[in-house]
Symmetry: C3
Subunit: 436 residues, 3 copies
């Protein structure tokens, strides 16, 4: 896994893909999702599914498909004072079609703004209640004259389908790692172009590697998409041993890892380890039932070991679900950093085995194997020798490399290197390493 | 249980009863206890027991009954410089009768004062060693002239009985909650008129309610009374599933909950929860073998799940066991607050059941049931929806409502309300709810 | 055990023995070790073993025996600018013999100094690589003239043996407590004359006592000596129930207890208790696989419950492994204090039994047994009565005296005294007390 990190340009590549898909007007169904998945298909061999409107999925059913071609508010002079083509956040997602003239007083009942953030356009949806609406900057609304406006929303809401994409990297076993992100937000860069792009580039690099686990990448519309995917793959979930939802991974905050409902699943422990040994100010927070699609994966009927990696916590940064979440809000270096955190956690998942010290009675003589300094007596010891001693002392068949790393207060990768040195010196053998 | 809180005047009512019983000269036996229980009988149907002097109770036996009619110290001019009728703390409890004249120097050997708190009269007892004595303010002692004093203690110590009262509210099961307080202190308001009165008023209100548990209210003299009660009810203690000793619940300190010897019994967890979600500066402290009658209930041969609720910790406030613990030291609002803490904890005991989410796979669609806002995208969520999500996610048959509340960081009562909403919407059913 | 503390002069006695053995030039083999053990034999009946060079011990073999008679560096005027007889740290331990003349530039490659501590001579070894060298103060090296020096190391490295000593105090059972220290350092007072002397004096006093455990004192060269001892006593290690490595116990720092690899073995709990109830600023630290001979005892193939007691942490004080670790660096009062810590921990090991309260239902009446004050009502209680109440409440056959002490927040010895009082009063009996 760690080989995936040999990509100095990875931050720029993720950013570039995010920039490409940023302008597309996505929703939970419709052509925006299809166009997004087509972009991803240029990198990975994506399997795309279409699920017809009306299909039942547990307590839900797939809604009608929504598409939009144009929308505006024109003043009496014929100027588009609000224009969907300028920013697709201007239209409430799933707005029913409308054409008419309204005085400002009436139109205002269909306009959403953020009085506290008067420069920003909010992002709003009305998936499950037939309604129409516009979103705009509060400052702009304040400047609208009291006159009659021509309003158009050229949308359609009809029988169609919900679209999602999947990519499966096959490992040497059927045990799976689930990596999931939502693909239903219109032009917002962090939430969620960043997650879509990071997972796509990771999948692309992973394709060249031999792994123990199979890796399933799932690109689904939020909530309803995850629910539909689970309802169509119930027989598969028992294979999922570890998982991450990835979203909001391009901004400068966090990073934040939210644990799975199980609280101490292996991915939780691995992510905690990675963040503890990272120089950033990362935080691990407890599971709660509100958030992204981990809500569905961690519902009590599934209770999958799936956590959430994000940077700033969703709904906690001012740009959240506004036009402020644009391409300036994310940066290649943050994307690269998030990518490295994911890869390091997956590296632990792949490689956290138990080794067996072949000289368990007393210390083996490291000096004659060239693993120890030759002049004794000086205070202190290189980290390298300490890592060797930790691995030797705890490779008793009970402690995995991650256990040893946590005990030693050393990063997993330092312990892994010690393992290589000691195995080469004939002091360690690989113990029984079941896929957990 | 929570219905017991619909009593805006409860603080005044508890205070009023405390004021009524304050003047009575109680001890561990005698007419003071009987008169006190008679006052309580005006509120509840108290069953009163008389246990003859000499009756054995484990390592103890019931002492002779003590009664007192008058006591004084008169100076040479015939003035009562110390008068039992002015304050019943003036006489050491269980003083043997005495009549005579003593020079001050000799009399002083029988006088107890508090040099550090020279205005206050201490409370002293000599239950198990035949002796007599007076208690007075140190300042007053300083002012006594060196002369001969006439001394009278018109008391009797003879065969009689120890008196205690019980009230049993029958629930739908035989499982019991024990609520106990001592009734042996003379005129002290906080320790222990406050506890006696709080439990009496609670029992009075509880009489009108249907409960799962039976509630046993025990009013006994401290130490010997609890020991006698336990020795006569050994066959009953296996029914006691939860319990509280209540004392010192009228002052402005604390509140303080001292855990049962078991340390994590349900009442301990419930009280901890109630204090954590209370606005007061409450503290939960570990069990220790010194205190009130929880000492007996938690002796190793019984080890009952019984904790202690008090406000300021006994023996830690300056007025403790002095004339400073008078009716000005307690307040209706503190009594009402203590009452509400007890009721909330008992509400948890009564209602901490496990519910079962009937739609455990993915989230149910709350929107079409009117349990969710209709416009999506805004940051944040009402506490109500969060409570609903917590209940749905953790109602897996393993987590009780209190477990869920503690996980969510929400009060038990908020979680209970969510349960009602979700049950009404057909999303929850009541699981197996054994009395624990 | 606690009787061992009736030695007001113990600090002086340990110091005196340390001063006697300080001048001897010890190494991991050779006459210095033999002479040291001879000094100890004046106090205890030491059994001395000689293990021939070449003997295999797990991954190691006993090295050749090293002895040294003289060593110097002479300037052109014939003055000994470095003289082994002035300080035996001047010669790198296990230096091969050399005689010759070297210009300073060449000689310098064989000289070790401490530029950061220019007044001190470092201690260096080269056990497993044939080499020779001198150690000196950096200031002195700076003052050496650029000239030709006559160099002599009159040492021998040849077939011989490794020497160690053992003393066994037999208790009433075969279960053993291991007390081990290394005896391989030349003239350094804290590391390790202090440990050698403390254990010798403890063994001497222990000889007169009847104990439940047998106590095995092991005086071995560091690392190779402990490895050799373990390899020759594998059949014995299952008897070792508790153990301590003792070293660096004379300086003014710490004390520091490093836990055994098991982390919660009885000796770890006992030492933690002793340090918590000590007035010094003691610290308990986790096991790590670097240190003194606990490295061998706690290797995974043995995993013995053996911790390390030291004062300042090794390699963390400036005088460590330098000429600064001299007789001024240790003090009788620190040695006496370390001694008392060891004795108190061993006292817990010996005496941590479970008692049984013979009156478990309610409190027994302490007053009629003279164990309680006669006048009641006063706030607070003597520690003695609190200890009695703790012992009575928790002597339920499940809690040992140490469990009770830790719960009560009282020292073990206070709880032990309570046990004596209560047993004498017929309230306690000794429960089943297996050697653990």
């Amino acid at each position: 896994m760690i080989e995936c990190l040999d990509s100095p340009s990875i931050g720029e590549e993720i950013f570039s893909l995010a920039r490409n898909i940023f302008p597309i007007c996505r929703s939970i169904t419709g052509n925006g999702v299809r166009e997004t998945l087509r972009c991803l298909s240029e990198h990975i061999d994506l399997k795309i599914s279409e699920v017809p409107s009306g299909t039942e999925a547990f307590d839900w059913s797939v809604p009608q498909e929504w598409n939009i071609r144009d929308a505006y508010i024109k003043d009496s002079a014929g100027n588009r004072v609000v224009d969907f083509h300028a920013c697709n956040l201007h239209v409430v997602s799933y707005s029913t079609p409308i054409r008419g003239r309204f005085p400002l007083s009436e139109l205002q009942r269909h306009i959403h703004t953020l009085p506290e953030q008067p420069e920003l356009i909010p992002y709003r949806t009305s998936y499950y209640r037939a309604d129409w609406g516009f979103c705009m900057a509060h400052n702009q609304l304040q400047n609208l004259q009291e006159e009659s406006y021509e309003v158009l929303i050229d949308s359609s809401l009809e029988q169609g389908s919900l679209t999602y994409g999947e990519y499966l990297h096959r490992g040497t076993t059927d045990a799976e790692v689930l990596l999931s992100t939502h693909i239903c937000h219109p032009s917002m860069a962090n939430d969620n172009c960043s997650g879509i792009s990071l997972l796509t580039l990771l999948a692309e690099r992973l394709a060249h590697l031999k792994t123990r686990y199979s890796y399933r990448f799932v690109f689904v519309p939020g909530t309803i998409g995850a629910i539909v995917w689970l309802s169509r793959n119930e027989q598969l979930v028992s294979r999922i041993k570890h998982g991450l939802v990835i979203s909001g991974v391009g901004d400068g905050g966090g990073p934040t890892y939210k644990k799975s409902r199980r609280d101490d699943s292996k991915i939780d422990i691995a992510m905690d380890h990675v963040l503890r040994h990272d120089t950033s100010d990362g935080k691990v927070i407890a599971f709660s039932p509100y958030g992204y699609d981990e809500r569905q994966y961690c519902s009590p009927g599934f209770n999958l070991p799936v956590g959430l990696l994000q940077r700033s916590r969703f709904a906690k940064f001012p740009e959240y679900h506004t036009s402020g979440d644009d391409l300036d809000f994310i940066r290649p270096e943050h994307l690269a950093h998030s990518y490295s955190l994911v890869v390091r956690a997956l590296d632990i998942i792949e490689n956290d085995i138990r080794m067996v010290n072949l000289q368990p009675k007393c210390e083996p003589q490291l000096g004659r194997r060239g693993l120890y300094g030759s002049v004794g007596g000086a205070a202190g010891h290189a980290n390298q020798i300490m890592a060797d001693l930790w691995v030797l002392n705890y490779s008793d068949g009970e402690h995995s490399l991650l256990d040893i790393a946590d005990r030693a207060g050393l990063p997993f990768w330092t312990i892994r290197e010690a393992t290589s040195r000691l195995s080469a010196a004939g002091l360690l053998s690989t113990g029984h390493c079941p896929i957990e």
